[in-house]
Symmetry: C2
Subunit: 367 residues, 2 copies
DNA sequence: GTGTCAAGCGAAATCGGTTAGTATGATGAG
DNA sequence: CTCATCATACTAACCGATTTCGCTTGACAC
């Protein structure tokens, strides 16, 4: 029971007075910034406990020039991919006594810069930018301000910056080879907007793998949403006649699943579908989705770890980290329909439910 | 081109010097805290622009006693329900120049208190606690520290606190009545852990509505996950033989959909399924999910608005806000199977994929 | 011309920490 | 016994804003 309780919170001076030491000593006990004799430290700690003292973070960061807050910039917090990354990052940060401010850019480079500016104004110690949608100016800005930064998929780390490279190719190659082994020879790739760096990378990985397997590829650009995947798959089916489609993220793959359904195509008997990301829901679609997993928890943890290394080491030249991806085979991929057979069965026998399902489109057959 | 650029960032003193005024005046121009003559203000603003001055937030919050950061505490950032709420909140906050720190409690009251403590240490101006899983002590803590707070579903707002009440009952009643009109008389309710306040509220709403419609209810407790919903639905089917199940959230409803599938039950011909939350994916399940929508954007915006009112007004007695829910009918609910017929069809004719059985079920029309 | 009042502005204290630089006492060597 | 040396702890100058209080000035009434 402290009489201070009812007035304002205890300050470092209160603690110092009660422990019979100076504020400097209290500070050193708190931060282990200089050795303090055991018994002195004990007295200080006791005083801290008795007063329920909690350091004022504003004062701390004003005096020290850095706050105990780090920034995390992601593309889209509503894409189920990111909350998991965020959580892992945040938990790792918490273990080091750092709080995290999360900001979402919605894939817009201008917003990315805005977020970075706002974070800089908060005196954050460091920033992890887990979106590739960003102009060079954003990186320059952080470098100029001396703010440590971790990036995703953007070249090499430099001084005060690290980079995490996701090895999209390996997972995508696995997926393509998997499809090839199942006999697929025409595969459509549903990409996201190709002005986005990370999507160009995925597309190129796909094209590379396809070439290596002598598969005939097609690329359709869409917008990363379920609707976009639906639309793109419909388009691919009518123009390209693939036996399999692969989407650049799971949301679009889910859209593709629906498109197949509306085209009276069984998945995987008549059409194989593969996704990318391995979001939680990919395990619960009908049929469950074959997809390329990118380890989200690891990504979040690695991002913070990289940032922490930059923060704690002096002049650490930024390292480069790498994260691999791998194929997860589920039900949505299967053997390619036999070549000589028509790929699309006719009539009700292909429908999944009651044929009167609304939204059923006319048979999208092509010449 | 400022020569300061290469040294340290400009301070308020630099601005004052350049504008030929005192720091006090600069501060007043910045915060409109006192009237300043137009031409003086113009000089100050010009200096600010020329120096690229950005106020140091740490200093600001140290001096003023509050930071421009607000806290948002949610139950589970990985549940797709919350990112959307978060985003709306964050955008509303941004419009008022506030940054947001989001923390996730995973439905654990102890963590909730921990989050609140950490936020308090950051001198946040206010906190929105959008989880009901919290002990009284957490609210007391905030009250004692004088931190403005907005709560969800916990009684009335008090001094410096507001409350948002979600009207679960209306949406749930709509759902129950909807099912009753379709002829359902035995409905199982898949609840989440009943030690959680918000789930007791939902269960009670369900039981109340069921009683009013003379429906025979059953309640099964589960854990809010897809797996949990799967398990609970299986259990309900074997023990209670419902013609419809309603889940306390969409994730469990999705699990129920899968359970029905594995029990060879068509949805909705043999079993109707309804969810709660209207998460994005409920629109893309197979079949699409009938569910009770709770307006997420509105919730986020309302939460911030309530907080802002508490922050800007003096001594505003906390208001009570209310948010209504409404039923969204999709494909997963349909007429109850005819009473005199067996509820569970036998054999392959009930499977989803085998198409050879159009019209397998009796005409579900009622007498 | 004088008194009153408000508006506009500045000097300086303040917020609660950090951290150089310095003082103190104990210890050991010469 | 004296003087470095070392380990500890203190003094006090910051960090960059806000905010109180008092001073100057000009407008206006009488």
């Amino acid at each position: 029971m402290e009489h201070r309780d009812k007035s304002r919170p205890a300050t470092i001076r209160d603690v110092a007075r009660r422990a019979g030491v100076s504020t400097a000593t209290v500070s050193h006990v708190l931060n282990h910034s200089k050795p303090v004799r055991r018994d002195t430290a004990a007295r200080v700690e006791r005083a801290i406990r008795e007063l329920g003292y909690q350091a004022n973070t504003s004062a701390k960061s004003l005096a020290s020039g850095r706050s105990a807050i780090v920034g995390l910039v992601v593309s889209d917090i509503e894409n189920p991919f990111f909350p998991e990354v965020t959580r892992a990052f945040q938990e790792a940060a918490h273990l080091r006594g750092q709080e995290t401010i999360v900001m979402s850019t919605h894939y817009d480079p201008v917003r990315t810069l805005d977020c970075i500016r706002r974070l800089a104004a908060l005196q954050v110690a460091g920033v992890a930018v887990l979106t590739s949608e960003m102009h060079q100016s954003a990186m320059d800005y952080l470098a100029r301000k001396g703010i440590r930064a971790v990036y995703l998929d953007v070249g090499k780390g430099g001084p005060h910056t690290a980079n995490i490279a996701v090895d999209y190719s390996s997972g995508i190659r696995q997926a393509v080879e998997h499809l090839r082994q199942l006999g697929h020879e025409r595969i459509a790739f549903i990409s996201g907007p190709l002005e986005l760096v990370s999507l160009r990378i995925r597309r190129d990985a796909f094209l590379g793998a396809a070439a290596a397997c002598s598969i005939q590829p097609a690329v359709i650009e869409s917008d990363l949403t379920i609707r976009g995947g639906y639309w793109a798959c419909g388009r691919a089916l009518s123009r390209f006649h693939p036996t399999a489609v692969m989407a650049a993220n799971d949301l679009m793959a889910i859209g593709a699943l629906h498109a197949a359904y509306d085209h009276h195509l069984h998945v995987p008997e008549n059409l194989s579908v593969a996704g990318f990301d391995n979001i939680l829901f990919s395990e619960y679609t009908q049929p469950t989705l074959t997809t390329v997993a990118i380890p989200r928890r690891e990504l979040g943890e690695m991002a913070f770890q990289a940032l922490w290394d930059l923060l704690s080491g002096e002049n650490v030249e930024g390292r480069n980290y790498c994260l691999s991806t791998r194929l997860v085979v589920r039900e949505s991929t299967g053997p390619a329909p036999h070549r000589t057979e028509p790929r699309r069965p006719i009539g009700a026998s292909a429908t999944r439910h009651d044929p009167a399902t609304p939204g059923t489109n006319a048979d999208p057959s092509e010449p």
